[in-house]
Symmetry: C2
Subunit: 205 residues, 2 copies
DNA sequence: TGATAATTTCGACTGCAGTCGAGACTTAAA
DNA sequence: TTTAAGTCTCGACTGCAGTCGAAATTATCA
């Protein structure tokens, strides 16, 4: 690797590291780019050579975090557990990660759900990753007869996602305390499922 | 009314009017407070005498708009229509209003769902108004047997609200085009209802 | 190795949200 | 009508996100 590329690598990492530290310690809004630049040992303009906007720095870390979460999920997943259990596990794992840095999670959710015009594109990718995780799980559940066959999987993922956003929103606005998030999510997913699973009196399994 | 109060009234209205015009014409982000102040014929500082932040100006108009929407809804409501129809009417009316000023609606939704720490309180009121509108409708539907009796009304309102947020988000991020919002909403509400209404083979009405 | 081209770095600069205190206007009381 | 207290108005000022072009660093090739 050339000197140039090596330096770039290092600089970018230094900026990322500084960002993670400062955002976590002082919050996103309370961290100025100038401050961040100084902490990373570079000039302000340099930061903008690596990231186009302040939120983009957040996104970079978000993507990394989400990757971690997804990897973890894929590992610990139990593809034969009831669908409710699996879906709950997925979202609660995500929630627990977000919990560790509330500030961070709020901005991430906000940008994902109602992004600025400029960076609306970024998030389509993230969503893709989410759908790709959920699809096989739902497919299996459908095969097992836990979910109706006459509903598109995409609509089911959306349904769950919508309810997750709702609960997150309630949490961020203080309507649901942290310790009740799990039960609230379970309750509303259960509600959703009663409609998603086939109506039949022959509840075999 | 004293001269002073009269003046204040007028000034506030002038700011509001200028805001509505400029935000609608040039968008929220592209309108500076200085510009707004000039259009209203006052100094910059004066604007901040009436509103604490730029978003608060938006909120003032939002509240007004929502009031209009709610009044309209209460009038045109048909309390005996099927629950799906009623709920769809409510949200589509809201959506249509938002459509008229997309910019505006996006920021409103965003602030409502994932607000800044500072103005998290504001929105609890708005939500209350929403719940008070939905409650009697759902209660009636429950009495008619269209909704299960063993689910708290609050959870039902939340369920619908979550799905509405999801659809709005999909619209804002361009995943659902305007002309499909109505059918997407209907589809997902139908999904939700199949679980919300009692399971029974005696589908009388 | 030296000279030129390509890339990267930097901080002074622009534009805007929000603050603040000096001064203008309004009210109340004599 | 005068004056003192209370209230409102204003724009200069602060702080920060993001831009830009001049200077420094690295690559390329004779």
């Amino acid at each position: 690797m050339s000197i140039r590329e090596e330096k770039k690598q290092k600089t970018k990492q230094a900026i990322m590291d500084a960002a993670i530290t400062l955002f976590s310690t002082n919050g996103f809004e309370n961290t100025s780019i100038e401050e961040l630049a100084k902490a990373a040992g570079v000039g302000k303009g340099t930061v903008y050579g690596y990231f186009q906007t302040k939120t983009e720095i957040l996104h970079a870390f978000c993507e990394y975090e989400l990757d971690q979460i997804h990897k973890e999920l894929v590992k610990q997943a139990n593809p034969n557990a009831p669908i409710l259990e699996q879906v709950l596990t997925i979202y609660m794992t995500e929630f627990n990660h977000v919990t560790r840095n509330k500030e961070f999670g709020r901005i991430f959710m906000r940008q994902t759900v109602f992004p600025d015009e400029n960076d609306a594109q970024d998030h389509l990718e993230i969503d893709d990753k989410y759908f790709q995780l959920l699809f096989p799980i739902l497919k299996k559940a459908q095969d097992r007869g836990e979910l109706r066959k006459n509903i598109e999987l995409l609509h089911i993922t959306r349904h769950f996602y919508g309810l997750y956003i709702l609960i997150m929103s309630s949490w961020y606005t203080g309507r649901i305390p942290t310790e009740e998030v799990s039960s609230a999510l379970e309750l509303i997913f259960r509600q959703a499922l009663e409609g998603l699973q086939p109506h039949s009196d022959s509840k075999s399994k």
